[in-house]
């Protein structure tokens, strides 16, 4: 009984921590600090997944935790740091929406996911239930980061934090098959994106990785 409540508390804290760090991403106005916060996000995810691996006695989840730690918390942020430096876009993030409204929207999204998931999963076991509510919050906040930023690098960061939410959900669903495979697949996907950003700039001499700057080339503008 003692053990049970401890395991519950720890996973609860870690998952809640992820939501909090997602919020921190919303108000970062510099790319470097956004990347640092993301690295922290991935670190907490790694801890959370490792804890789930221990609690559920599912050693394969340690692989997912290791991927989160090595790949997402170290390799990707370092690589993106370099890209940002080379592209010379380290000064600021142009946010499509102001910080105030973004934070309010973030709170609304978290409230929505809590209300939705807690109501819907009334019969599921409490651990999975709260995990799922937190995971959905992280997913939605990641989505919010993606919509409010226009810079390609910060959109990728938003996508990765969204994906962290998915991993949280998948590891929280006890005994779910394919979790490791899915996290590997996602890492490959992200590696592709990062390499893509890098190549676009270097080979094609783009003036900007700002997505809105590319809109004019579509030929459909009146």
């Amino acid at each position: 009984m003692q053990m049970h409540s401890l395991s519950f508390d720890v996973s609860h804290t870690l998952a809640g921590g992820l939501v909090l760090i997602s919020f921190m991403m919303l108000y970062q106005d510099r790319l470097y600090s956004l990347l640092n916060v993301f690295a922290f996000h991935a670190l907490v995810l790694a801890l959370s997944v490792a804890w789930q691996a221990y609690v559920q006695n599912a050693p394969h989840l340690y692989i997912t935790a290791a991927i989160a730690l090595v790949f997402k918390a170290i390799v990707i942020p370092v690589a993106l740091h370099r890209i940002v430096k080379q592209l010379g876009i380290h000064r600021d993030i142009e946010s499509a929406v102001g910080i105030g409204p973004t934070m309010l929207a973030g709170m609304a999204l978290v409230a929505l996911s809590m209300v939705l998931m807690l109501r819907v999963t009334a019969e599921a076991d409490p651990l999975a239930r709260e995990d799922l509510a937190f995971a959905l919050s992280v997913v939605l906040l990641g989505l919010l980061v993606m919509v409010t930023r226009r810079n390609a690098v910060s959109q990728v960061v938003g996508f990765m934090s969204l994906e962290n939410g998915l991993v949280l959900a998948a590891t929280g669903a006890k005994g779910m098959p394919l979790v490791v495979e899915i996290s590997v697949a996602f890492s490959i996907l992200i590696a592709f994106i990062v390499i893509g950003i890098f190549l676009f700039r270097i080979r094609e001499r783009f003036d900007s990785v700002d997505v809105s700057a590319l809109d004019d080339y579509r030929g459909e503008r009146r």
């Binding site: 994906e163 005994g175 098959p177 899915i182």
Partner: protein, 483 residues
């Protein structure tokens, strides 16, 4: 005994993946383009053999039933004809210097990998694996959309990628929720992701959880189907990539996502207390139809025009499946097949047209039937078909959708007919300017492969006049399966 050693399911998966590996290594355009065609033909023949060979029992990984055979056969057939078209299209691109041999190798390897992903999505019985397969198919198309590496192509690929990833993410979240709903009933682990087991037990799942799961799956896979308002990636991806890819995107990839949705729709239909997915699908389908119909009037790029037309038709199909019932499902299924055949035929024509004219702008292309009679008339027949004029196949399926809707929901039918007429007007307006009038643009002869285009169009024509009884019976059976 020896006959049983041939496993068509393994063949439709292994041939593409083996071919992809070979094509990635082999140099030379002539050889690889032929190999691509041969591999696609072999895949198609294996898929056809599914019709006659005794079906394998469903395992945790593989499922073959009446529903997915339709999809697999259609998929491999269009994959095969597109590979023929692709061979002549790519030859021109190489001459024009838009593609280098290295990219060509990459292109062919990706083409086969995409076929593998789509076939895997169809035959798998595991909803997790299905998700992975749809993701593979999407990613390969992203890479191919960006293959010209122009500003516009990269932007289209990026947009497709970002929106596709969000779709992927939502679909995965939905899949996890389905697993959560199934776990208490089916048991932990692999079994709770096996579709046949899920359907067996779905009646006992927590309906609330299943509802939320379906919303996420609908958003996720719906993005891939190109339903408004999640369609933003679709016109760009169609317009900027190589035209063979536009053909498979419209003709096949949208169907893959639709297939995934249908599987989950069946799952929800089994659960008595879950919401009925019908109203949601009907609404979004109508929104897509009417929205795309309006957008058709403002297109200036010929490939984007037909991309919006794909959104319109996916709207009709989703609407039909949303209405449900044997007749509407039958119509939806028929419409899906007809749309795939017609739209890819149109893209075959458009591909050669834009190559010979050197532009995709509609106002720079005129009088095609004078300068290039075969291409021009092919396009005319294709557009007449896609606009829904008799006696072609799409007329029949649209007629079925409309008449079955009038019988049940006259108000919805009015909206439906309004959207159809609107799209009809836009397409014919554009067609007259492109196909007739004084010729404009290059009149150079074109080395086109007409066979795939006219093969598709004649199939559509035949289906419009006379649908063979075995096909009707088959589709009727699938329609009842869809509930």
């Amino acid at each position: 005994m020896n006959l049983h050693a041939f496993d068509p399911v393994a063949a439709v998966l292994l041939i593409p993946i083996g071919a992809a590996a070979l094509l990635a290594i082999l140099p030379g355009y002539r050889l690889t383009a032929r190999l691509n065609v041969v591999a696609s033909l072999a895949t198609f023949l294996s898929a056809l053999s599914l019709l006659v060979i005794e079906r394998p029992q469903p395992t945790p990984y593989v499922l073959v039933d009446d529903l997915n055979i339709v999809f697999i056969v259609l998929n491999t057939f269009v994959g095969f004809t597109t590979s023929i078209f692709s061979a002549s299209y790519i030859a021109h691109e190489l001459e024009a210097g838009r593609l280098t041999p290295v990219y060509l190798r990459f292109y062919h390897a990706m083409y086969q990998t995409m076929m593998f992903g789509m076939n895997l999505a169809f035959v798998t019985n595991n909803i997790g694996l299905m998700w992975v397969a749809v993701e593979i198919a999407t990613l390969t198309t992203v890479l191919m959309v960006g293959i010209y590496r122009t500003h516009a192509a990269l932007e289209a690929a990026w947009k497709y990628f970002i929106l596709g990833s969000v779709g992927i993410a939502f679909a995965l979240f939905g899949t996890i929720l389905v697993y959560m709903a199934a776990r208490p009933v089916v048991g932990e682990g692999q079994d709770a992701m096996v579709w046949t087991l899920l359907v067996e037990h779905a009646a006992h799942f927590d309906p609330a959880l299943l509802n939320v799961a379906f919303i996420f799956l609908f958003l996720g896979y719906g993005t891939k189907v190109g339903l408004a308002p999640l369609h933003a990636w679709l016109p760009d991806a169609h317009a900027e990539g190589p035209t063979p890819i536009s053909a498979v995107l419209s003709g096949l990839l949208l169907n893959v996502a639709l297939y995934a949705l249908l599987r989950f729709k069946i799952l929800l239909a089994v659960s008595p207390n879950a919401i009925s997915p019908g109203p949601l699908m009907v609404t979004i389908g109508l929104v897509s139809l009417v929205f795309a119909a309006f957008m058709l009037y403002r297109r200036r790029d010929i490939k984007r025009l037909f991309a919006y037309s794909s959104i319109e038709h996916m709207g009709i199909i989703v609407f039909a499946f949303g209405m449900g019932g044997p007749l509407a499902n039958f119509a939806g299924l028929l419409h899906m097949v007809m749309h795939s055949l017609t739209k890819s035929a149109i893209f075959y024509a458009v591909g050669h047209i834009s190559q010979v004219k050197g532009t995709q702008r509609i106002n720079r292309i005129r009088g095609l039937t004078v300068t290039h009679p075969a291409l021009g008339w092919g396009l005319v027949v294709g557009v007449v078909a896609i606009a829904g004029l008799p006696p072609l196949g799409i007329f029949m399926s649209e007629f079925l959708v409309v008449s079955s809707t009038f019988a049940r929901q006259p108000l919805l039918a009015i909206v439906l007919v309004f959207g159809l007429l609107l799209a009809f007007g836009a397409l014919l307006l554009r067609l007259t300017s492109v196909a007739f009038g004084n010729p404009r643009g290059s009149t150079a002869p074109v080395e086109a492969s007409y066979v795939p285009m006219f093969a598709h169009l004649s199939l559509v024509l035949v289906a419009g006049i006379y649908l063979p009884t075995p096909v009707v019976i088959w589709f009727q059976h699938v329609a009842t399966l869809l509930g």
